[in-house]
Each structure stands twice: as C-alpha cells, then as structure tokens.
C-alpha cells in the first residue's frame, strides 16, 4: 500500500494538468465518446460512497482501537486477535475497492482525452474535402516556396477505407482464396499498413533530410495521394485490359505522385535531400499501385501456381489436380511410344 500511495502522488502532477486541458472541450459540447450515464454501470456504489465507506471504516477502526485500549485484557487473547484481524481485513478490502475504482475512473478519463485529441483534425466541410481531392491530382508549379498542406485526417481516412472496399471487390472478382486469415483482414492490413507505415518512414526520412513537415501533414499528404490509386483500381478491376492499366498507372498514378513530390520538394532545401525524398516517395507510391493491381488480379494466379513449390506459404491457392495431369502425361507418352513401335 505504501509504494502504491507514493506512485499515485507522483502521477498527480501531470495527470492534473492533463485533466484541466481536457475538461475545457468537454464543457463545450458535452459530447463525450462514451456517455457514462447511458452505460449500465452495475459495478456497485459510486465513488462518493466509496470515499464515505473508507472514512467510516477509518473512524470505526479508531473507535475500536480506543475501545480495545479501554477494555484491554479482560477479553480472551484469541478473541481480541480475531476482532482486530477482522477490522484490519475490512479496512484493507475497502481500501482496495477504493483504489480499483479510482484506477477505473482515471482509465476512462484517459480514453476521453485520447479521442478528443483527434477532434481538431476532423474539423472540415464537404466543400473543402472535395476541393482537396481534386487538388491532389494537380501538381504544383512553384517549388521554391513552401506549399501549404492541410493537416486534416477525415479525407485520408475515408480514402483508405474506400481503397479497402475496392480491394475487397477486386479480391472477390478474382476469386482470391486466403486460408490463414480473412479477405477483409488482408485488405485492411495492406491499406492501413501502407498508409501508416510509409507515412512514418517518409516522416523519418524528412527528419533526416531537414524537411519542414509534421507527421499529421505527412499522413494527410499520403492519404490524399491514395485518391489516384482508388480511381485506377476502381476502373481496372472492372475492365481487364493490361494496356489500360499501364496507361492509368502512368497518367493517374504519375499525377498524384508528382503532386506529392512537388509539395515535399518545396519544403526541402538542398539537392541531395530533395533527390532522396522524391525518389523514395515516387518509388514507393508507384510500386504500391503495381503491387495492388498484380497481387489481386485474375491473370496472375496461373503464374503464382507454377512458381510455388511443395511447401505452401500462408497465401495458399487451390491445389491443382495432380493425378489427372500425371495420368494425361502417362497416356500421351504411352501413345507416343506405341506409335513409334
């Protein structure tokens, strides 16, 4: 109990300032994520009751101590011991319940705080989102002046989910079969992994190359860059022409990559750094589009079947009917031998 109490006191400082920072937006709209009134909290008494019980227990124990000092030795030794033990046990239980309640409250509070941190990034109007979507396909000409990037997360998040839906459609139409997981899991993992992973990697590179960009801006930039991917995949998953895909890849993918690259370049100083950032982002972005097209496309299934050896990796395809093939081969060789004889 001792070290626990000390720890609580140590955390009171930063926790309190965090609470002050969070209580302001909470007072504004009263719109918290989890309505505590609506939640069916059947865990027992409220915190005020806990505090009261704790206080009462303390007072009882003090009275008991006084009473014991008064009556003292006329009782049996064991009986006194039991009474003292029961009081102590009761106090410990009340103490523990109070601490658990307090911990629950602080955890729920930190959940509130985490959601409210994201609130300013979702403060957009539909016209703004539409404008930014169209802008993401238009490369900027001015690269000597740092271009403004809106730090908004609604558009990129919706684009990632749209990409997931399009991927799912593509996987279903190409009859991709995944044994060790689910289609949805793969699609979500791929898209979110790309968005978050490549953003973090580019942010790290930008930090190394002294580019003026924050993490949220990088997430936003890459997210809007996925708009080109969405358009390309939506068209080419329905119309299966390879040449059409290559045209779309170059034109649409190229335009959105050019825009991202131009914005990044405008925020970097120095030729080597600009080259590193441009090259990496362009390569990753274009290669991702290629990967999405070919990994889930009908045509490539045959190639993958022949490439895979006897040990099947997690991405498993349906096994070809070996006996039929070998029978056919045997029959033809037998016929050929019979003909020559």
């Amino acid at each position: 109990v001792g070290p626990g109490r000390g720890r609580r006191r140590g955390r009171a400082g930063p926790g309190r300032t965090g609470a002050d920072a969070v209580s302001a937006p909470m007072q504004g709209g009263g719109s918290a994520v989890i309505d505590m009134e609506n939640m069916d909290d059947t865990s027992g008494s409220s915190f005020e009751d806990m505090g009261e019980m704790h206080q009462r227990m303390k007072e009882e124990e003090e009275e008991e101590a006084e009473g014991e000092a008064g009556t003292g030795e006329e009782e049996d030794g064991e009986f006194l011991g039991m009474k003292g033990l029961r009081g102590q046990l009761g106090r410990q239980v009340a103490d523990q319940m109070w601490q658990v309640g307090k911990r629950q409250a602080s955890r729920a509070f930190s959940l509130y705080a985490n959601i409210d941190i994201l609130r300013p990034y979702f403060d957009v109007e539909p016209v703004q989102v539409r404008a930014r979507l169209l802008e993401s396909m238009i490369p900027v000409k001015m690269i000597n002046f740092p271009q403004k990037i809106a730090g908004e997360l609604y558009g990129p998040l919706m684009l990632v989910f749209t990409l997931v839906a399009i991927l799912l459609h593509g996987m279903k139409t190409s009859d991709t079969i995944i044994r060790e997981g689910t289609l949805m899991g793969t699609a979500i993992g791929t898209c979110f992994g790309y968005w978050l992973g490549v953003s973090s990697f580019m942010y790290f590179l930008a930090y190394l190359c002294n580019a003026q960009i924050t993490m949220v801006q990088m997430l936003s930039l890459l997210g809007y860059g996925l708009f080109g991917h969405c358009i390309t995949l939506f068209v080419t998953y329905n119309i299966h022409f390879h040449s059409l895909f290559y045209i779309f890849w170059l034109v649409v993918g190229g335009l959105s990559t050019l825009r991202m690259v131009a914005v990044l370049v405008s925020r970097t100083v120095g030729h080597t750094q600009r080259l590193i950032l441009c090259g990496t982002l362009a390569a990753l972005h274009m290669l991702f589009l290629l990967y999405l097209h070919f990994a889930y496309h009908k045509v490539v299934e045959g190639i993958l079947d022949t490439l895979e050896g006897p040990n099947m990796p997690p991405f498993q395809r349906v096994a070809r009917d070996i006996p039929v093939v070998s029978n056919a081969v045997l029959n033809t060789t037998a016929k050929a031998i019979a003909l020559t004889l």
Partner: protein, 217 residues
Amino acid sequence: FPGLADVSISQDIPVEGEITVPVGSHSPDEDYSTLDEPVKDTIMRDLKAVGKKFVHVMYPRKSSALLRDWDLWGPLVLCVSLALMLQGGSADSKDDGGPQFAEVFVIIWFGAVVITLNSKLLGGTISFFQSLCVLGYCVLPLTVAMLVCRLVLLAGAGTVSFVIRLIVVGAMFGWSTLASTAFLADSQPPNRKALVVYPIFLFYFVISWMILTFTPQ
C-alpha cells in the same frame, strides 16, 4: 422559553396517538422490481421492444423511440443470422466457412464502431451505444435481401438470377442507407451531413457486396 412556562399537562390525561405512518398501496419499489414477475413477462417485454424497433427500421419515420432506449439484441441477432447465411461460400468444403463468419462479424462491428467514432469526432450529439444500435438495426433490410438471394440461388445461378439478385440487393442497400441516415444525420450540424453519410454508404456497400457475390458451392 418564557412563553411555555405556564403550559402544563394534567397528569390524568394519557397522551396517545398513532405513530405508524400510513404506507401507500404502491411503493415506488414495487413498480420497478421485476424479480418477481414470471420469466415469460420479461422475455415478452424485451421481444416487444426489439420488434417495435424492427418496425421502425422498415418504415423509417422521424421518431426517437429507436434512439431513446437502445439495445443491442436486435443487431446481435441480425449479425449472427447474416454471418450464418453467408457461410459455405468458399470453394473448398474443408474450409467449413470459418473465416466467413468471423469476417462478417468483424466487418459489421468494427465498421459500426468506426462510423460512430467518426460521427462523434465531426461534432455529433448522439451517444456511442445509440449509434451502434441504429447501425445494427438498419442491417435488417440486407438480411432480408440475403434470405431472398439464397432462395433465388436455389432455383439456379444464371444471368437472370444474377439480375434479380442485383435488383433486390440494390434496393435493400438503398433502404438501409436511407433508414440509418434518417436517424443519424439529424444529430449532426446541418452542413456536415454528407461527411457522415459517406462512411455509412461505404459500410452498407461492403455488406451488400458480400451478399451479392455469395455463391454456394
């Protein structure tokens, strides 16, 4: 108390009266205590609440009954029945539809949570569980569409059946989206309704796509 000094009670008059307070025939506890009622009453009450919400979904009017007392029984039943009906669509019968069930479950609940968080972050006034309740109940038209698709597929799997299924699923998808929009968009600031409707549209689109591409083997 100087004024009371001369008040005296003579010793031979007994002081008597009623100490008991008359208790009302209906104490508040009796109305809310549902422990003593038969189990049938409890179940019927919950079933009636769920049924009333189903009716609200099928004929979406601007009533607040769906929002006021939310419950998650309906969404659970719908989700489980949809996931069960979507089983058996994999090419290999050995697979036994395991991933399909988990997939549908995860999509519906994860998607509903994401939409709820999104609408809260955009400044909505609806609570977390109310939003989950509405989104779950609005899966009902799609479950009906799944039932119809399965019956149509029993008759055959040609182009005609595909067209019928496409029309039915499309109509039910529109109905679902309109029903949930009618409940959820009211709690948003008026100029941001489109931002909230799009994820709902995407959510029901993914579910309808799973229903449309279901082919039993």
